[in-house]
Amino acid sequence: MGNSTLLNLVLYLPLVSAILVLLVPASKDSLVKSLSLGLMLIGFVLSVPLYTGFDPNDTALQFKTSIPWISSWGISYIIGMDGINILLIMLTTFLGPIVVLSTFSAVEKSVNLFYAMIFMLQFTMLGAFVAQNLFVFYLFWEAMLIPMFFIIGIWGGKRRIYATVKFFLYTALGSIIMLTAVIYLAYINFKQTGTMSYDFVDLYKVSVSPDIQKWLFLAFALSFAIKVPMFPFHTWLPDAHVEAPTAGSVILAGVLLKMGTYGFMRLAMPLFPEAAVAFAPLMKLIAVIGIVYGACLALAQTDIKKLIAYSSISHLGYVMLGLFSFNQLAVEGAILQMVNHGISTGALFLMVGMIYERRHSREIADYGGIASIIPRFAFFFMIVTLSSIALPGTNGFVGEFLILLGAFNDGYSVFKADGGSFELFLSSIAVSGVIIGAFYMLWLVQRFMFGPVVHEKNKELRDLNSREIGVLIPMVVMIFWIGLFPSSFFNKIDKSVTEFLKDYKRVEKSITSTVQHVEGVQNECGKYTLRDAS
């Protein structure tokens, strides 16, 4: 792996960029903006070789850097990539330039500080994804709060201070409890091996007694569940989303929430496998409650941004359901669903932000019939909506389908083994989320874009300009790329997921045959949709 410099470069570029941007005087708006965009694009371009150069057959860490850091505490600086974080790293670098481009007209005050904060956020998020040492992970994990705190607090809406303090305190509480568990785990490792180490690889090997495992798992799970956010820890999310500026919402939905689910995959589950299996029914239950509850709340919203925020809770419920189903299909579906949610929901927030800039309202009732006035907007909004409700052919379908299939398989295997039908029942309930999802999204589209034009103001709406189309096109391309050719993405993560599942003795199926099957089903469905459309 001679390529470790590349990953470091991708990681530290945003940090350097943040400083560069701060050095530009705030009065030179356009310079700051183009500089930020350029730096973000460089970051993305640099990350492409990481993806293409990633060897899917090697389950060991790739692009690995490992150097001792605080050696008297046994802490080393280790970063690296494997099948579990590769897609999320790519998602982060992919969304970077899009977020910057989308805010060109939205941010007016303290522009250089704003972009510096975006870069800091980018830096800490990438850091948390690539970190392979628990201490380093925690540093990035917690440091992430700082830029987000300012982004919501300075550039947010009316109740921004309430929202940002709530966001900060909620997540910090979770992190602090996790930190105790981190130290305790490292200490158990120290007692067993005689050396202090926070490396993931070393900590995975620690054998913890089931009782203590439960407590430590709960401590980690609480922190991650707040970040996901899972029911009942979700209350900070709608506030944060609604008050955050568009860029903040996009990053929050696109990447930040994945920290929670990623944390489960990377830490809570592999560190405490027995506790994870023991808590699986509970976690699944909470996930399914989240799916249905989030969807129902979304139905009741009159504020578009809030509606999308609640739909996030529902979508991430699927991810959690997939992860705790412990089989290849569901876990791969969950990873893909993380990316999907980042793209679809990110795009939805982008579009809400665009319309908000024009009309300064997020109330559904203030719109209606705008499809005829701004057709280009309506076109993109429809695609993104369909992706969000997981129409076959779009990315959402692949993820949700695999998760549900995997969850059923898992529930069925439990049923066959000891006749417990609870998990099977949960999987069935989860399916209803798809239906409610279609309901609230399509209802939103109907009220938002179709029908008669009630408000005079809406008649003067401008359609999307070329910059905004430029923002949306990459998103739409990704929606269809993942939707139509998911196997290239699964190839990258396949082996790592198998490795991840090694600890859990559950029923497994060959993934490749199923993916082909899924693609077959999709093509069939795609034909029908196309026929219906024409």
Partner: protein, 451 residues
């Protein structure tokens, strides 16, 4: 040696004091690099690596505070007080017996009583000074009483021998230890001996408050390492050492939430921080001294940074202390506001700032010594603290300036000269903080080799 150089600076003005401090630091670093270690005056004074590194920390902090002093304090009288107080602090960390420790403590405290009311402009400063004198006197008396009990037990007043002293009279010994701890708790403002600190902190001028919060506190912590660094805590005391710091952390953090004055808030914050430090005395893994010294260093630097930023907020003559008046100040003083981010998040213990490492160090040793539940509780209590630190930032960044306040544009020249040094202070502390964040290992090792 270093002390001689420092004495010369007493009679000089600002620059000479700075030069004095600077040359003292150079002497100390030479001593450190050559690994000097000897005892003076039959063991009353110890020069070892711990003393050297602690003195360097105190001197750097003193130099920074010196630069923060406003014009009205720039008098030889004040510098004399300042220098002798710093000298006392250095004597404390280098003391080999209770005798030198006590002399150092008095030498450090007595000038501070005067510094608090120096050039007083209101009764508040006098009141603060009086409170400080009375309570400081009481704590000195308690310390002396404790020392005499310990002397009654062993017939010696050596500090190094305290850990393995023969216990002849258990009651004497335990009482003595408790009294010495009490005296230190007084000075470090641990609940229930904390009552004086909010009033005194609020009464003093900001740089003097910074001096009390940073240097006096750090000197107390560091000299506690001298006294109890390798000391096996008797079983009878463990309950107290669990309870009092915990109560301090809660009291400090909760109390700070309600404060409207920045200095009062920092006083409560310092109560909480003293609580964290005292947790280290439960440590049994041998990391106690390093953890405390590291914490004291970090705490001193970040407190100074916070005060420097606030002093920079103030327009020349009048002090800004009301948290309300911080609102929207980011627009006027963006650089200082930026430094405030670092200071506040560091004090709150949010990574990647050094405050986090310091807290991590203490809690790590707490878990390793078999108190995981206490660590959890203490962590959750420390969470309470986050709220008021970020409230400062909310005020600075997220509110616009309250209406009706007249924005006066200062003539640039006068402000620039006064603020030049404050900016320097911020820049130097920033460099130290960056150094500590990127590579805490070095600082740990500097203290790790000692004792």
């Amino acid at each position: 040696m270093c002390l001689e150089i420092f004495k010369t600076s007493k009679v000089s003005a600002f620059y000479l004091s700075l030069i004095g401090i600077f040359s003292a630091i150079i002497v100390l670093s030479i001593q450190f690099l050559s690994k000097t270690s000897f005892q003076l005056f039959e063991g009353h004074l110890i020069v070892d690596s711990f003393a050297i590194s602690s003195k360097s920390v105190l001197l750097i902090a003193a130099g920074l505070i010196l630069m923060l002093l406003p014009k009205k304090f720039q008098e030889i009288k004040f510098y004399m007080l300042f220098a002798s107080s710093v000298y006392g602090a250095m004597l404390m960390v280098g003391s080999g017996t209770f005798l030198t420790l006590f002399i150092g403590l008095e030498l450090m405290s007595i000038p501070v009583y005067v510094m608090v009311m120096f050039k007083f402009s209101s009764a508040r400063e006098v009141e603060a000074s009086m409170k400080y004198i009375v309570l400081g006197g009481v704590s000195s008396a308690i310390l002396l009483l404790g020392i005499s009990f310990l002397y009654g037990n062993s017939g010696g007043i050596g500090l190094l021998s305290l850990g393995h002293v023969q216990i002849n009279h258990e009651t004497y010994f335990i009482t003595g230890i408790i009294l010495v701890f009490m005296a230190f708790f007084f000075k470090a403002s641990i609940v229930p001996f904390h009552g004086w600190s909010p009033d005194v902190y609020q009464g003093a001028t900001q740089p003097v408050t910074a001096y009390m919060a940073a240097i006096v506190k750090a000197a107390i912590f560091l000299s506690m390492v001298r006294v109890f660094g390798g000391f096996q805590i008797p079983k009878a005391l463990i309950g107290v050492l669990v309870a009092l710091p915990l109560v301090s952390v809660i009291w400090g953090n909760v109390g700070a939430i309600w404060q409207k004055s920045f200095k009062r808030m920092m006083a409560y914050s310092s109560i909480a921080h003293a609580g964290y430090v005292m947790f280290a005395f439960l440590d049994t893994t041998g990391e106690r001294s390093t953890a405390i010294a590291f914490y004291a260093t970090v705490y001193a630097i970040m407190t100074i940074l916070a005060f420097a930023a606030v002093i920079y907020f103030s327009d020349d003559e009048e002090e800004i202390d009301d948290l309300e008046s911080f609102k929207g100040i980011f627009k006027k003083k963006p650089v200082a506001a930026g430094f405030m981010i670092i200071a506040m998040f560091s004090l709150a213990g949010i990574p990647p700032f050094p405050g986090f490492y310091a807290k991590f160090f203490i809690f790590k040793s707490l878990v390793a010594s078999g108190y995981p539940v206490l660590a959890l509780v203490a962590f959750i209590c420390s969470f309470l603290g986050i709220f008021f630190y970020i409230r400062v930032l909310v005020n600075i960044f997220m509110y616009t300036e309250p209406e009706g306040r007249i924005v006066t544009v200062q003539p640039k020249g006068s402000v620039a000269t006064a603020n030049f040094w404050v900016l320097n202070v911020m820049a130097i502390s920033l460099m130290i903080i960056l150094f500590m964040s990127v590579n805490p290992e070095n600082i740990i090792r500097i203290f790790g080799v000692s004792l």
